[in-house]
């Protein structure tokens, strides 16, 4: 198999990423804790992503409703539209689309930021200044991404359902109360809990891949661009792999 120049073999990269992730668990629970930087990253990763995630979630709910409606009308089950859209959004589409948007925005930004810090020696400067750069840069970002992703996905679910409600009301009159009652009548813990839990793993994957790609960036500005790009690609693939595994695990438990 031909190897792309500058790219590591798959097994080597997987091994290095695993070691990098294992270091996170070693460093995250050992003092000193970079609380201020962690909170700053929560603000940047969580709050600053809210508008993008909210907009895409709204459009997603609206479009999904508009696309599903004709088929349900054809089979005479249009009254099931809120329930169907609700389950689809909360179980799968909400978390996965939010995670992919998150990977595109946060994964690339972390990859580029750390990559640029690496090539301009800022990470070395941090080490010389008596700071553990892994703890200061990686642990704070990965932890913030892990905690912010479920919050963003929950907000995205809510906005998406509101978009769906407006979508329903484009064709008929349905009250918000009736819409949301129909959605929650068909939802169970087994729909909500696995979807919420897998968001932590999505957030962790995006954070750790972005940091890994940026932290080991090389070859100047070209390397920074490559880090940002490969962070998004790898994080997106991991999101689907985690999604697949989470479905299997959820089926085993419930």
């Amino acid at each position: 198999m031909t190897q792309v120049p500058g790219q590591k073999p798959l097994l080597e990269e997987t091994g290095e990423l695993s070691v990098f992730a294992a270091r996170f668990f070693r460093e995250a629970f050992r003092p000193p804790f970079e609380v201020q930087e962690f909170l700053h990253q929560c603000y940047l990763i969580g709050y600053k992503s809210l508008s993008l995630v909210g907009l895409t979630a709204f459009i997603m709910g609206l479009v999904l409703t508009m696309q599903l409606r004709p088929n349900l009308v054809y089979y005479g089950v249009e009254s099931q539209l809120p329930a169907m859209v609700g389950i689809a959004i909360i179980r799968e589409i909400g978390p996965v689309i939010t995670a992919l948007i998150f990977a595109g925005k946060i994964g690339s930004s972390i990859g580029a930021e750390l990559g640029s810090m690496r090539v301009t020696e800022q990470i070395d400067a941090m080490e010389v200044s008596g700071t553990n750069p892994y703890k200061y840069l990686v642990v704070t970002r990965v932890l913030a991404a892990t905690l912010m992703m479920p919050l963003l996905a929950t907000i995205a679910d809510a906005i998406s359902l509101y978009g769906s409600f407006l979508g329903v009301n484009l064709y008929e009159v349905l009250s918000w109360k009736l819409f949301i009652t129909q959605v929650f009548d068909y939802l169970d813990y087994e729909d909500v809990v696995p979807a919420f839990v897998k968001c932590f793993f999505f957030g962790f994957a995006v954070g750790i891949v972005g940091c890994y790609k940026g932290y080991y960036s090389s070859k100047g500005t070209e390397g920074v661009g490559r880090s940002a790009n490969s962070a998004v690609v790898l994080a997106s693939i991991l999101i689907f792999v985690i999604d697949l595994l989470s479905v299997q695990v959820a089926e085993l438990i419930w």
């Binding site: 070395d124 200044s129 008596g130």
Partner: protein
């Protein structure tokens, strides 16, 4: 006669990256108050050498002693304590883009001297900014500064902990000749006022001639020759003389 106290001892240091041998038995001793320039071509291993001294890179073999401590035996905490006494001016300045000049200068202070009060911090920041002639930039971001100003701020960050040793990695590279000369004069002034020992890594002959007491020639991974500027140009080694031609 008063015996000179060595602050950096480098003995038989080897470092290779794969098959590329960068340092091949390098030796150098720097004494207290002395300013030594290490000259060599681009890619000759000068930056690798200086990073080995500060512990950012680990030599494959050899011995490096800084302020009486064998750096290969230091724990992480001991290394951090040692680094508080050794300033490092990076070739690319390495200013934190997301922080203002004040935050850049406070960063090492807060990390190394955790007991310092906010008023003391502020006074130290302003003092060191005045010493590099840029007190008005305190609330500016690095991106708003020119190349020469960024170098001065990076120098200020190096000086804020009042280091006993300063390591300069290519301090004039990438600057125009006039700004380069200004930085050279500034380094000389700082060395005289602070009495710190230093290693200047460069290929800038003017910098070495003005700011260094002694020059070490790094050729083929070894210290080929060392001495005062005049001694080197009066020597007979063609490899060394080629550098001064």
């Amino acid at each position: 006669m008063e015996e000179k106290e060595p602050v950096i001892i480098i003995r038989d240091v080897h470092k290779a990256f794969g098959k590329n041998v960068v340092l091949d038995g390098f030796n150098l001793t720097v004494y207290r108050g002395e300013n030594v320039a290490v000259l060599g071509k681009s890619g000759s291993g000068k930056s690798v050498l200086i990073k080995c001294i500060i512990g950012l890179l680990e030599p494959d073999s050899g011995y490096i002693e800084v302020l009486g401590q064998d750096i290969s035996r230091l724990s992480h905490i001991e290394m951090d304590q040692l680094r508080a006494k050794v300033g490092f001016l990076f070739q690319s300045n390495a200013l934190y883009d997301s922080m203002t000049v004040r935050e850049n200068l406070e960063f090492p202070l807060r990390r190394h001297w955790i007991d310092v009060t906010e008023e003391q911090q502020n006074a130290m920041v302003m003092e060191v900014l005045e010493s590099v002639g840029l007190p008005h930039t305190v609330d500016m971001l690095p991106v708003e500064l020119s190349g020469g100003m960024r170098k001065r701020i990076a120098l200020a960050r190096t000086l804020i902990l009042k280091p006993e040793i300063i390591l300069y990695d290519e301090p004039t590279t990438g600057l125009d000749p006039i700004t380069g000369l200004e930085i050279t004069e500034l380094i000389k002034t700082i060395q005289h006022s602070r009495q710190a020992s230093s290693i200047l890594i460069s290929h800038d002959l003017k910098l070495a001639r003005i700011a260094a007491d002694r020059i070490a020639m790094l050729i083929d991974g070894k210290c080929r020759q060392e001495g005062a500027y005049e001694e080197l140009i009066a020597g007979a080694d063609p490899a060394v003389l080629a550098f001064f031609a």
